[in-house]
């Protein structure tokens, strides 16, 4: 049960009665007793809450940063009216406005809508529904809780999709579908057509020209149906917060833009998230279902505070992709884990695949490196310079082993990775 503020107000008014009319102990007992009796009557007349029936509906998934709404339908099977409040409790990061007024006549039903504004990625589960039903006097209420399960999956926001149109334009330039036919080494033979002035004479196909009455040139198009393997490292380096978001979220954003671009370019994209085991895996999905599958797979990923198992990642990639692929490793550029973990076994990966390593750089380090003025600032600058040199050193080591490296701040990582992919594609290195 619960009582309302009216009971207290009534007792306060009773203080006047006691003071003016019956100033004695019996006066106090009389007034208090009357209030208690009224409360008991109210409680008896209040509608039963434990027999209420609940059904849910509404959003099941929402992008982070966007609002969602979940409905809750309450049916009152009893005869007494249920009048009061209902709280549809959600975890704090679901951002729910969870209190609603309730007024259901006997046998009736009412639907309340709980707006959600999630502040974190992942699955948000409804906690409990608590109903408080007041009696006709509004002095006392019955209260009870019900478990009405519902899960809203909060998907990664994919903020970098604003970069997608410009990258698709560049892809079309490569493709030659819209404008000039891009020619370069490593592109695929497409068809033969007759020579027009302005064509590169090196593309003349002499054998076809001999067979035909006019000069024929070969046309080319960028390679298609290549395989991309995106590997999200969810180990401890991905937990570091750069600006407001963890490195993992920035990596996801970049992975989503890359996947969207690559699937439009006709390539197949697979994804695994790995630290010491596979945390998420998207494989063999068609282009149309790729993005939904990816955001769904990524939604529940959280950084694990363990050192990533580099040999495990390499073995998993080798196991999954037998033919040559572009392996995109979204990980950190911290010297120690890379030098001890990945570098010694990198050759197994590079021998079969093209490896692109993308890492989230911290603008704070660059800021520190520029600091001057007093001793503290200069020590900061020295430490930042040292960190940058180590990073540079590792990048050098990786490049020497034939690994492409993209190192960019969270905002720039997604477009930079997309550009790196487009450059590889234009060069026909996939």
């Amino acid at each position: 049960m619960a009582i309302s503020g009216r009971a207290g107000l009534l007792a306060l008014a009773g203080a006047l009665v006691v003071g003016l009319l019956i100033p004695s102990w019996s006066g106090i007992f009389l007034v208090t007793g009357l209030i208690l009796i009224a409360m008991v009557i109210d409680l008896v007349l209040a509608g039963a809450v434990h027999r209420l029936e609940f059904t849910r509906g509404g959003a099941q998934s929402v992008r982070l940063g966007e609002p969602a709404a979940v409905t809750l339908t309450v049916r009152n099977p009893g005869r007494a009216r249920v009048r009061g409040m209902v709280r549809d409790a959600w975890p704090p990061s679901a951002g729910a406005s969870d209190r609603h007024r309730l007024d259901i006549p006997g046998g009736g039903r009412q639907t309340v809508t709980t707006p959600l504004q999630p502040t974190r990625r992942g699955d948000r589960m409804a906690y409990r529904v608590t109903v408080r039903a007041f009696g006709p006097l509004g002095l006392a209420a019955r209260q009870g809780s019900h478990t009405v399960p519902w899960t809203v999956r909060v998907l990664p926001p994919f903020t970098s999709r604003k970069h997608l149109p410009s990258r698709l334009d560049r892809l079309r330039d490569l493709d030659g579908r819209l404008r000039t036919l891009a020619r370069g080494q490593g592109t695929e033979f497409d068809s033969l057509r007759s020579y027009v002035i302005g064509d590169d004479v090196r593309s003349i196909d002499w054998r076809a020209t001999a067979r035909s009455s006019e000069v024929m040139v070969r046309t080319w198009r960028p390679e298609r149906d290549r395989h991309l393997m995106v590997v999200l490292d969810t180990g401890r380096t991905s937990a570091g917060r750069v600006g407001d978001i963890p490195r993992l979220d920035a990596s996801m954003d970049a992975a989503l833009l890359l996947a969207a671009l690559a699937s439009r370019a006709g390539d197949r994209v697979d994804l695994i998230a790995y630290d010491r085991q596979v945390r998420a895996s998207v494989q063999g999905t068609s282009a149309a279902e790729l993005l939904p599958a990816l955001v769904n797979g990524m939604a529940t990923l959280q950084p694990a505070l363990v050192e990533s198992d580099a040999p495990g990642i390499v073995a998993e990639v080798m196991r999954r992709s037998r033919r040559r692929s572009l392996v995109v490793l979204l990980t950190g550029l911290d010297p120690d884990p890379l030098e001890q973990g990945l570098l010694p076994i990198l050759h197994t990966l590079t021998s079969r695949h093209l490896v692109l390593l993308a890492a989230v750089a911290d603008p704070r380090i660059n800021e520190m490196a520029q600091a001057r003025g007093d001793a503290e600032a200069v020590f900061d600058a020295a430490a930042a310079a040292r960190a940058l040199q180590e990073r540079e050193h590792v990048v050098g080591l990786l490049r020497r082993r034939g690994v492409e490296v993209v190192d960019a701040t969270p905002e720039d990582l997604a477009p930079a990775l997309a550009d790196a992919y487009l450059a590889l594609k234009a060069a026909g290195r996939l």
Partner: protein
């Protein structure tokens, strides 16, 4: 459709106008009252005040006649100064309790009180009654003060054994009640017989204790009187009402204490700032005063930005770098060498200077 819940200017004004209006009325009222009553009250009947309502003139006059004027403001000070050769003038008898006033009457050989009313009158002069009030004007003594001549006096009137100036001055044994302080003020002292009357009233004895009571004096006097606490003043019926209020408080507590469902707990992700290790290293440098390591890192950073600008191979020897920088900037080679490859700085100050020197060098190379 969205509805903004943050208040706009109109809402704020609507919510605030009532309190603002009340505040304005109070403020204007206070100013008007202050203006209407203004001025005269300041330092009234104070022997050191030169304002029109003050009494410095009469105090000087008395001193010239050989009377010692002692200005006191506290009850204790009055008691300390009273002896058989003192006159006591009380400017605000109403601010003292009747008990205090009768104590004074018993102890002081000559007592003058200005405008006592109510309980103060019988406490000071048992055979005197208060009558009414009149405006100050020129009045004739018609009694033992004839010699003083007419005086400007008004205020409270009394009926007593010796009644002068239409009742605005009454003498009862050794106590004199004065209707108001007009004859003593700087403004009126030189009119009519005011000065003569003042000197006759206050100059009878060698010492004049000029007592300006303060409100705390009544409390001081009460300590030995029958003081009652606030609680004694509450009728006993309301004690029971208070008991009922306690019941109400308990009910309010029960109302607020009952939650609408439990608090929802949620595991939160670990927050690790990515730059933490670098900042930690900076703190270590600082604590260890590792100026040499810091200088080394800064120099390497500068050299690695210089090398591509100079078009040198990445493993160029120091001599080649120095030479190239000197050629590009026109600085002496020894100078450049000292900045880029000199001995490490020993103090933090030197490190800061080195950092600035490296920046300057990189800027010069970049701009040439």
């Amino acid at each position: 459709m969205t509805t903004s819940v943050s208040p706009d200017a109109r809402t704020i004004w609507r919510a605030a106008r009532a309190p603002v209006l009340v505040g304005l009325v109070v403020l204007v009222g206070a100013i008007v009252i202050a203006l209407v009553r203004g001025g005269g009250e300041d330092g009234a009947v104070d022997p050191e005040s030169v304002s029109p309502a003050g009494s410095r003139a009469v105090a000087r006059l008395l001193q010239a006649q050989g009377v010692t004027v002692v200005r006191v403001e506290s009850w204790e000070a009055v008691r300390d100064n009273v002896n058989s050769g003192t006159t006591v003038l009380i400017t605000q008898p109403s601010w003292l309790t009747p008990t205090q006033l009768s104590t004074l009457r018993d102890e002081v050989p000559t007592l003058v009180a200005i405008g006592p009313v109510g309980d103060s009158v019988p406490a000071l002069a048992p055979s005197t009654r208060q009558q009414g009030t009149v405006a100050p004007q020129n009045r004739q003594p018609d009694c033992a003060f004839d010699a003083a001549g007419s005086a400007n006096i008004g205020g409270v009137t009394y009926d007593g054994p010796t009644r002068c100036y239409d009742g605005t001055l009454v003498r009862d044994d050794h106590v004199t009640l004065l209707g108001d302080a007009t004859p003593l003020t700087n403004e009126w002292l030189d009119e009519e017989g005011n000065a003569a009357l003042s000197l006759r009233l206050l100059g009878q004895r060698p010492t004049l204790v000029w007592y300006l009571p303060s409100l705390s004096d009544a409390a001081a006097g009460d300590q030995d009187g029958a003081e009652r606490s606030v609680y004694d003043l509450i009728p006993s019926a309301w004690w029971f009402a208070l008991g009922q209020v306690a019941v109400a408080v308990l009910l309010f507590m029960a109302w607020r204490a009952r939650r609408l469902g439990p608090i929802v707990a949620e595991p939160l992700p670990v927050v690790v700032r990515a730059a933490e290790t670098t900042e930690g290293r900076a703190r270590l440098y600082r604590r260890a005063k590792a100026t040499d390591h810091a200088a080394e890192a800064l120099r390497r950073a500068t050299i690695s930005t210089l090398i591509p600008l100079l078009g040198l191979p990445s493993d160029a020897p120091p001599a080649a770098i120095t030479e190239s920088v000197a050629a590009r900037t026109g600085r002496p080679g020894a100078d450049v060498h000292a900045v880029l490859f000199g001995p490490p700085p020993n103090t933090e100050q030197a490190l800061v200077q080195l950092a600035d020197a490296l920046d300057a060098l990189a800027n010069e190379v970049g701009s040439h």
